[in-house]
Symmetry: C2
Subunit: 234 residues, 2 copies
């Protein structure tokens, strides 16, 4: 990570979600990526201890496995703006078009639309720090499922190859989840060792169509809440 | 972390243990700190994918909550040397005296004896990378218990203050465990916000004497195995 940016990775164990904090050391303004409702108190406390003011709470996509913490974080940080890719119908203060540049103090993130797991997925790329926050598009030695939320395995294959694997080989990959205790990877590693995305498009589509995954536990609650910025819908 | 060193943090969820891999990019030799038996296959696979040869498997102390993976790692990496602080009676290829310098390629670690959680605890300090692997001596906003394995709260207080809090403020703290999804901290943060170690010695001793913790589940199995380098005792 860039020397100008304070970086912290945090884990929420119910949904095995990673939340990321990036804080500008100069302006003390911060961004959080993929906060979870259950760990908002922990995250808000840490931000305050670090002397950071949270100005943006971003999601990589509308999550189906947990409720976003964006709404609850507002109670801790006045003026907080929520953000999401523009291909989403969910409520959000900001909707980012493809290639949009987010600037918060010395933190710079490029938004890359990486649909496929959901139609609205984005990857936030930190070019200065050499890192990509890939959400569920690219996981460590895996990827998000493509069988709901307008998911499409062909689209995901293209997103990962064109928009993530095209980054420099040494860029770190920070996913939204890991279920095996892995905390990060690199573009190089995933291009070489991802068991799904090293395959041809046809083989990839075939793998994704035959995962035989169970219906997601949380989806019926999480989706309507997350489409409403983490607030219970009326 | 130093640009010369490939660094990876890994989590084992049964015991909430962090394992760390440091790999020299030049010589491709690697060190692992606090490996767990249950995740040896994952760790060995990752090391091989990264093109690394594991030459040292170190423990910060004789763990009571999990069985060390050192012995099982030998099956994957011939000539692997195990290491532990010299104040331990456990079996180990190397026993490090206080201030001993471990060198593996471009990886340099200083061994600092930091007893108190157990009498044999050490902290491995990476001065180039600005990081300390503190085991259970210093946890994020916490510390290891001091009621077994010749633990002593007065000794722990002195170890943390003299040997860890004396490091530069921006040094990262990588503990052996975290139970709240936190992955790292800094000397600065723990000096300011650790709820136990910001107290006076008398208050600290009082806190540690009144934790009222349950008898550790794994200790009766883990200790004899770990005293035997992770092998079932005869
Ligand atoms: Fe997802
Ligand atoms: Fe311990």
């Amino acid at each position: 990570m860039s020397q100008k940016v304070l970086f912290r990775q945090l884990f929420e164990k119910e949904s095995s979600t990673y939340t990321y904090i990036l804080g500008c050391k100069r302006t003390k303004k911060a961004i959080i990526i993929d906060p979870v409702d259950l760990t908002v108190e922990r995250d808000a406390k840490l931000l305050k201890e670090l002397g950071l003011t949270l100005v943006k709470a971003l999601n990589t996509h509308v999550h189906a496995d947990h409720i976003t913490g964006t709404h609850l974080l507002r109670a801790h940080f006045e003026g907080l703006q929520t953000g999401l890719g523009s291909a989403n119908t969910a409520k959000s203060d900001e909707k980012f078009d493809d290639n949009f540049k987010i600037e918060v103090g010395d933190i710079n993130l490029e938004v890359r639309h990486t649909p496929g797991h959901t139609n609205g997925c984005v990857t936030y790329v930190d070019h200065d720090g050499g890192a990509a926050f890939t959400g569920d598009a690219l996981l460590i030695r895996g990827c998000g499922r493509t069988d709901f939320q307008e998911g499409c395995s062909k689209t995901l294959f293209k997103s990962v190859h064109d928009r993530i694997f095209s980054l420099p080989e040494d860029f770190k990959i920070y996913p939204a989840h890991d279920y095996k205790g892995q905390t990060s990877s690199s573009v190089h590693e995933e291009k070489q060792f991802n068991p799904r995305l090293t395959k041809s498009e046809t083989e990839f589509v075939d793998i994704m169509e035959n995962l035989g995954l169970a219906y997601p536990k949380m989806i019926d609650k999480a989706l309507p809440w997350n489409l409403n910025c983490g607030v219970e819908p009326e």
